[in-house]
């Protein structure tokens, strides 16, 4: 159905048409292809050509089930967008948006111009950061060996009470961390915690937050994460900061029609 060398246009995201020239000159796109801008009006799509033998409907369906393929492509998607994140406002697209021609890309830019412009304006000079909170195994307090059976039962009861109280405490703390960071940020999202098989850590994840931070507040945000990390270390809570990310978590409004 499609010849082997037929190309599609993979779209990573959208930037203002007047974004700095050469912004993606050094970018390595999917399959190391050069990354280009296709401008239409005052918005431009970040694209690279991809072979339809990989990204056509049938092959794509198969490839999505191949973890190595998916990882390479997903990383390329993030790599291209991430390298521009401090230089321009950008609206990230979800993985796998492919057009059959440059005209198709242009038609999309025309059809969604208002929405894309709105997103660009809202995200201008803002960065996404991720903050996760993990719970270390709690240090147990030293107690004397129980002298009697009754002492033993009382001690067990106290331990259960303490453990339940500690759970309530760490939940409240994770929430407090989120609220404090959301206060520094312009916007915030809480995503479901990743389970250990996804996070790669055995420690339970208490918070998986994303924060949209104005560029001038970046130092304040990083300082807040440091402060909170110190403040809650005593409860066994450890924070992890990632970013800056393209604002993946903050384009939902644009997606709703």
């Amino acid at each position: 159905m499609t010849s082997d060398d037929e190309a599609g246009w993979y779209v990573y995201g959208v930037v203002p048409a007047d974004a700095p020239a050469g912004l993606f000159a050094a970018a390595q796109g999917i399959d190391e292809a050069p990354v280009e801008l296709v401008a239409e009006g005052d918005v431009a799509a970040i694209v690279n050509r991809v072979p339809l033998r990989e990204f056509g409907e049938e092959p794509l369906r198969r490839n999505l089930e191949v973890p190595e393929w998916l990882e390479a492509k997903v990383r390329a998607h993030d790599r291209v967008l991430s390298q521009a994140v401090r230089q321009t406002a950008l609206v990230p697209l979800r993985f796998g948006t492919v057009y059959r021609s440059e005209d198709g890309v242009r038609a999309m830019l025309r059809a969604r111009a208002d929405e894309l412009r709105g997103g660009i304006e809202r995200l201008q000079d803002r960065l996404e950061f991720g903050v996760k909170a993990f719970l270390h195994e709690r240090a147990t307090t030293e107690t004397a060996a129980p002298a009697t059976g009754r002492d033993y039962l009382l001690q067990k009861q106290r331990e259960r009470d303490a453990s339940a109280l500690a759970d309530v405490t760490v939940r409240a703390s994770a929430r407090a961390v989120h609220e404090r960071l959301a206060g520094v940020a312009d916007d915030a999202r809480v995503n479901p915690p990743q389970p250990p098989e996804l996070s790669g850590r055995l420690d339970p994840m208490l918070l998986n937050g994303a924060y949209l931070v104005p560029i001038e507040r970046e130092p304040a945000f990083v300082a807040a994460v440091d402060d909170l990390g110190t403040a809650y270390a005593g409860e066994g809570i450890e924070l992890e900061l990632t970013g800056p990310w393209p604002p993946y978590n903050f384009v939902e409004d644009e997606a709703v029609e």
Binding site: D78, R94, F95, V98, Y99, T242, W245, V251
Partner: protein, 115 residues
């Protein structure tokens, strides 16, 4: 036995390393603006894929056990899309794959072969 943490948060600023693959997947597959391209099948497949990813994420029993569920109010699973709720699709997927979850029990309208 575990050392209390020093309090200095781990920072992975400006770095993208292997350990961050879950974060990259979570964002690139599940976030970002959805625009229908010419290759239509991709979006459907990716949504299915994210549902699979969510099955993984939703298996965070440890968090549930501890009662850490305050994030559920705005979680992905509670958001409908394209007129079909993801919960419906998750339920279908679970039935198809034989994965059991607490939410499937009262999903009465689907006919199921009971033993």
């Amino acid at each position: 036995m575990t050392q209390p943490s020093s309090g200095a948060p781990q920072r992975y600023l400006g770095r993208r390393e292997a350990s961050q693959l879950p974060d990259v997947l979570e964002r690139v597959l599940d976030k970002g603006i959805v625009i229908a391209g010419d290759i239509q099948i991709s979006l459907l497949d990716i949504e299915l894929l994210t549902v699979k990813l969510r099955l993984l994420v939703a298996s965070a029993d440890k968090a549930k056990e501890m009662g850490i569920d305050w994030w559920e109010t705005d979680s992905f699973l509670h958001r409908g899309r394209d007129g079909r709720s993801l919960e419906d699709r998750l339920r279908r997927l679970e039935q198809a794959t034989g994965v059991e979850s607490g939410e499937t029990e009262d999903g009465g309208e689907e006919t199921r072969d009971e033993q």
